[in-house]
């Protein structure tokens, strides 16, 4: 299943691997720049300028979480809420890392950054394990990861600058976050055979929203979802909830 290519003894010259990594990363470029701009504008509208945008893109480097982070910042969320929300929104990264353990375990000096920069999109570029012939696989993966983060940081910073400079009102731009999650919800629905987890997420959250109100429903919703999925495990486990 895992057709990892062995790196030949000779190292493709530094230039070659840079070019190959750049070509691989191009599909992520448009998405990251556009979503980054959306984030930057949103963050600006919430009252946080370009330095915040740069710091978040550099240190958090997780698209969905940064969007959610804007509303956590704007609402003055508690530290506990921030910890739990980040944990739930980014829990999937545990599983990206798990599937990369063998590949990244011996990546030497590149290993810490490779793990740090393992976003959804970078994972999707690197998860098939293919690397160009003649290139140092670790260096190639490092460069793909680095290019991706450069696009993201550039987009976020550009968004902050645009947010401050645009001559027209950007009211409504906040819907880009809603659109992002509706699009990934729809995409997951289309590629999954088992829709119970998605329904549990929607219904559990809606119930908690009605019970606890918009400012306090997030933590109860996360607990209800985890408890419900745990209770449903005998029914759902091994039924191929994945694509």
């Amino acid at each position: 299943m895992d057709k990892e290519q062995k790196a030949p003894a000779r190292d493709a010259g530094g230039r070659g691997v840079v070019k190959q990594a750049f070509v691989t990363s191009i599909p992520v470029m448009a998405g990251y720049v556009v979503l980054g701009i959306g984030f930057g504008i949103l963050l600006h509208d919430a009252g946080y300028g370009v330095a915040w945008s740069f710091a978040m893109a550099l240190l958090i480097y997780a698209g969905s979480m940064q969007y959610v982070g804007v509303s956590l910042l704007a609402g003055g969320a508690s530290v506990i809420t921030a910890i739990l929300t980040t944990f739930m929104v980014n829990a999937r990264h545990l599983f990206y890392s798990i599937s990369m353990i063998e590949r990244y375990q011996r990546s030497g000096k590149y290993k810490p950054y490779l793990i740090f920069a393992l976003t959804d999109e970078t994972y999707s570029l690197l998860c098939d394990g293919k690397t160009p012939e003649g290139a140092d696989p670790d260096k190639y993966r490092f460069l793909v990861s680095l290019f991706d983060q450069c696009y993201w940081v550039a987009g976020c910073v550009l968004g902050s600058i645009l947010g401050a400079a645009l001559p027209f009102s950007t009211a409504g731009i906040e819907f880009s976050m809603t659109a992002l999650f509706i699009a990934s919800f729809t995409q997951q629905w289309l590629t999954s055979h088992e829709h119970t987890p998605a329904v549990v997420g929607l219904v559990g959250s809606l119930a908690c929203l009605l019970l606890f109100g918009p400012d306090r429903f997030l933590i109860p919703a996360m607990l209800v979802i985890t408890a419900s999925l745990t209770a449903l495990r005998p029914r759902l486990a091994g039924k191929g909830a994945d694509r």
């Binding site: 979503l35 979480m65 509303s71 009211a171 819907f175």
Partner: protein, 108 residues
């Protein structure tokens, strides 16, 4: 000033937890240790449920009882889902949906 101190703390927490999640498996499952069945089960089902939760989270402040009764959210949200089913290109769905929403809140 305490406001931006708290904001900086939140950013640090979000960054710290994200980094922890990405590094944890490399620390725990070092020597090919078996991943518990419950953990890999949650890995399968949790992401879909959490995306559902985030959709609700985004729409939590929608005012359904006063004009325009959540109509922009409903129409633009349906457009996003419809476009995603049709073209399966997230970027097109997100951009179109956001533009539609920005137009609708100015018209309705």
């Amino acid at each position: 000033m305490s406001g931006s101190l708290h904001a900086a703390l939140l950013v640090a927490v979000m960054a710290g937890v994200t980094i922890l999640l990405r590094f944890l498996p490399f620390l725990i499952f070092r020597e090919g240790r078996k991943i518990p069945a419950y953990v890999s089960y949650l890995g399968n089902v949790l992401p879909q449920a959490i995306i559902g939760m985030l959709v609700i989270y985004c729409l939590k402040d929608t005012a359904l009882t006063q004009s325009p009764y959540g109509l922009p959210e409903l129409l633009a949200g349906s457009a996003v889902a419809g476009l995603q089913i049709w073209r399966r290109n997230s970027l097109i769905s997100i951009l179109s949906g956001t533009v539609i929403y920005m137009v609708l809140i100015r018209l309705l």
